[in-house]
Amino acid sequence: MLAMSKYETVIGLEIHAQLLTESKIFCGCSTKFGAKPNTNICPVCTGQPGVLPVLNKKVVLLAIKTAITLNCKVEPRSVFARKNYFYPDLPKDYQISQYELPLATGGYLEIEVEGNKKRIGITRIHLEEDAGKLVHQGAERIMGSEASLVDYNRTGVPLMEIVSEPDIRSPQEAKAFMETLQHLLQFIKVCDAKMEEGSLRCDANISLRPKGQAKFGTKTEVKNMNSFRGVQQALETEQKRQAELLDSGGKVIQETRYFDDQTKQTKSMRSKEEAHDYRYFPEPDLVPVEPSQEWIEEIRKTIGELPEHKKNKYEQDYGLPPADIEVLLSSPALAAFFEESLKLYDKPKVLANWLMGDISAYLNEHKKGIEELNFQPAKLVEMLQLIDKGTISGKIAKTVLVEVLDSGKSVQDVIKEKGLTQVSDAGELLKIIKEVIKSNPAQVEQYRSGKKAVIGFLVGQVMKASKGRANPKLANELLAKELGS
């Protein structure tokens, strides 16, 4: 790490996000994951002679949504191009992508590392189709395998490529960028953004330069980072490799390197000289994408408030601590639930406590999102109001909540059915208190001889005898009165 202090690290990321559409980008086939090989295919996505692509409008919509969210300019005219190369997972032997004229340009994403906020530039966002999947028999790669099978189910699944400016200065920042981006893409529902499942993928360009030098050093491209931790580890490894190389008087070679998750090392894949000439040219089978300003505005309205704005509001207007905010913003549905409840019940911290505590615990246990339950903000608020009125105790409310979440019934129904109303009737309570005093003579004796703290035990007995329904405050008062007499 000592060597590092001499250098500044420069990182730019290229992210591929799989867009959440029902059908593929250029045909009507399903994008569903995990189907039997070569079942979600048609003449178009298998590149039969004579077929033509037709752009799925939903794909453009989702990319525009992302562009707006990342503060990009949606270009009035973008053009698809063909990227030509031969590979068996690519049925047409070219990939339809955007090249010179991408869908959106010039935005930024704000990240936060150790309390410091920083803007990372977004160079461009463009659309392209995914390739198929090869399965090799007898070897890990196509070289040396006895046979290779190809599954075209994934061919034509819509991808959005997001390219960052080389504004990232550490592997930690790179990880933060990916995490923030994931959160955002999930929030606006354009991508489920799971790195481990490949719906969010990332390649990184990394170079080192002596501190104070303006010119960039020679970069390498690092591939195969399959988790957020992987991104940080791979870039730390590559940063260290480059620093040691430079320190020993060596030179970084421009090349593509592959991160091995097992050994935590990067290995050379191909050098610049071996790089492909993709012979890009405009795709003649598609017309330019020209979204109208009205459509863009319409899309803008559907996005709603972004996590960043919400975070500020939760902090400043509601006075919530960072830990609460993080939990509430972890799911757009949860945040929406919180805000709807707040309209009916003006105690943000109380709401946050319930949502973070019992409700989150229930959701985690059942592996469900709040939107999947028959549970509305009005139900939660009704329950909280009953606590405030003293109709049920906070402790009983926990039981009521679970029953409400399980059954989908109303709060009132559950309380009535289970007879869980709090006992605040002095006469009824007094009967119980008398029973307790009778069956605990030793403790009563202790109290009367001056050990006043023992009243806690006796109140506990009252609660137990009432199955938790006794109003604890009233029980305490009545008990003190009874013992004092």
Binding site: P43, T46, G47, Q48, P49, G50, V51, L52, P53, V54, L55, R82, N84, F86, P88, P91, K92, D93, Y94, I142, M143, S148, V150, D277, R279, Y280, F281, P284, D285, L286, V287
Partner: protein, 485 residues
């Protein structure tokens, strides 16, 4: 006159009046094929059995007067680069010699819906690359007027089949003259519609930004009639234009008074043989007699049209033909130890030399370092050519030229000199580069070989050129001349 000599509109009257059945007509055409096909070799695949079935179905439709169209029961030949479900579609290439498409091209679907009888698939220059049909990877086709001459190309099979009465109507495709030039060589009518007028879905792509499907027929009325059933927007082809389709038969008016006809100076100069020039000049006189106004026009950018075409078309072709790699369909070379060798061998064995030449030309033109100098520059010249046409059409309604500078040349005469072969498309290529409609009609005979007159219109002005062609045809007898086979 035997029935297979007749036009579709004549036959439609007989079929509707029940004076003739589709089965009789289809059998007459099939027996004509039996007699003349050994000399002409227009077809790659004959679909006798399904044709008989379709004829019987058409007769049912005619009998019940159920959805009868002018195409119902009429035998049509389809160029073998249009996909027919379950029927070989070879593009006259060894690489697709065993290819059975899993779907119908949109135009084929439309023919079926109209009740046409598909008689077979016609020969072409491999992947439509050529002007003589000698580049067919399967066999050459001979000109019915003189079997030692070429029929033109690339739709040579379709043009020869129409001329030899081996079908009533035919479909061709035109990328640089591939409908019009063989129509001229074989003495039939050939119409290339505006780019975007007819769906390309299912047409095996040669050069996507230039390809267009159109009719080859025995007279102008049949061309209008067939176009009625081909034209229209297709949601499966993003480049097909959503523009109203008129009834083209309504355009057939024998009146060109005050029509402004521009003749292109550059296309009546050097390179055009004396008999062709004199036939075209006679046609100009005929128009004058009929009351049209003749204007001399210069389109200087035409000089660069052939060079421009031979950059753009091969560039697109190099990418379009990449998918023939032996992985998914078509021919695969079996003597290959690894993937790369399989690619090499498959393509080396499967493609003919003209196709290989164009793939190499196109690959070169798109390569890094050459793209700007070749492909990009060609796109700019293409714009200049379009501008030249726009200027011309501000002064006239129709442009006139010979379709080809010569009559049909001898088989084998130009195969050793591709450049002189390319120049035979000098009058037709600019029209594709500008995406305009044009028609070729017979306008003379020289030493027993037909001469073609080309009429070019503004974009989507098929009606204007049909009217000009119809008036000419009504006042001349060239279309009634028949080859003696």
């Amino acid at each position: 006159m035997t029935m297979q000599h007749k036009t579709a509109h004549e036959l439609h009257s007989l079929l509707s009046a029940k004076k003739l059945s589709s089965l009789e007509l289809t059998e007459a055409v099939l027996s004509r094929i039996d007699r003349t096909e050994p000399k002409v070799q227009a077809y790659v695949t004959l679909t006798k059995e399904s044709a008989i079935k379709q004829a019987k179905a058409a007769d049912e439709r005619l009998k019940n007067n159920d959805n009868v169209t002018p195409l119902t029961g009429v035998p049509v030949a389809v160029k073998d680069n249009m996909c027919t479900q379950g029927v070989l579609t070879t593009c006259s290439s060894k690489i697709l010699a065993n290819y059975l498409p899993p779907y119908d091209a949109t135009v084929v679907e439309k023919l079926r819906a109209a009740g046409a009888v598909i008689i077979g698939k016609t020969n072409l220059d491999e992947f439509a690359m050529g002007s003589s049909t000698e580049n067919s990877g399967l066999h050459p086709t001979c000109n019915p007027w003189d079997t030692k001459k070429v029929p033109g190309g690339s739709s040579g099979g379709s043009a020869a089949a129409v001329a030899a009465d081996e079908c009533i109507l035919a479909l061709g495709s035109d990328t640089g003259g591939s409908i019009r030039q063989p129509a001229a060589f074989c003495g039939v009518v050939g119409l290339k519609p505006t780019y975007g007028r007819v769906s390309r879905f299912g047409l095996v792509a040669f050069a996507s930004s230039l390809d267009q499907i159109g009719p080859l027929t025995k007279d102008v009325r049949d061309a209008a009639l067939l176009l009625n059933y081909l034209a229209g927007h297709d949601p499966k082809d993003s480049t097909s234009v959503d523009y109203p389709v008129p009834d083209y038969q309504q355009a057939l008016i024998n009146d060109v008074k005050k029509m402004r006809i521009g003749y292109i100076k550059e296309l009546l100069g050097k390179g055009v043989t004396r008999p062709v020039r004199s036939a075209v000049e006679k046609a100009m006189k005929k128009y004058q007699e009929l009351g049209a106004e003749l204007i001399e026009l210069s389109l200087p950018s035409f000089e660069y049209a052939v060079a421009t075409y031979y950059l753009i078309a091969p560039a697109e072709a190099s990418s379009n033909l990449a998918r023939y790699d032996g992985v998914k369909f078509g021919r695969r070379s079996n003597r290959s130890p690894d993937l790369l060798t399989m690619y090499y061998n498959t393509r080396a064995e499967g493609f003919g030399s003209e196709v290989k030449r164009r793939i190499m030309l196109g690959t070169y033109a798109l390569s890094a370092g050459y793209y700007d100098a070749y492909y990009l520059k060609a796109l700019k010249v293409r714009t200049l050519i379009k501008n030249d046409f726009d200027r011309a059409f501000s002064k006239c309604d129709v442009l006139l030229s010979p379709t080809a500078p010569t009559t049909a040349f001898g088989l084998g005469e130009k195969t050793a000199d591709p450049l002189s072969m390319y120049l035979s498309d000098i009058a037709t290529i600019p029209v594709n580069l500008a995406g305009l409609p044009a028609i070729s009609v017979p306008c003379g005979l020289d030493k027993g070989l037909p001469i073609g007159l080309q009429l070019i219109g503004r974009a989507f002005a098929e009606e204007t050129i049909l009217r000009a062609a119809y008036a000419y045809e009504q006042n001349t007898d060239w279309h009634k001349q028949k080859p003696k086979l």
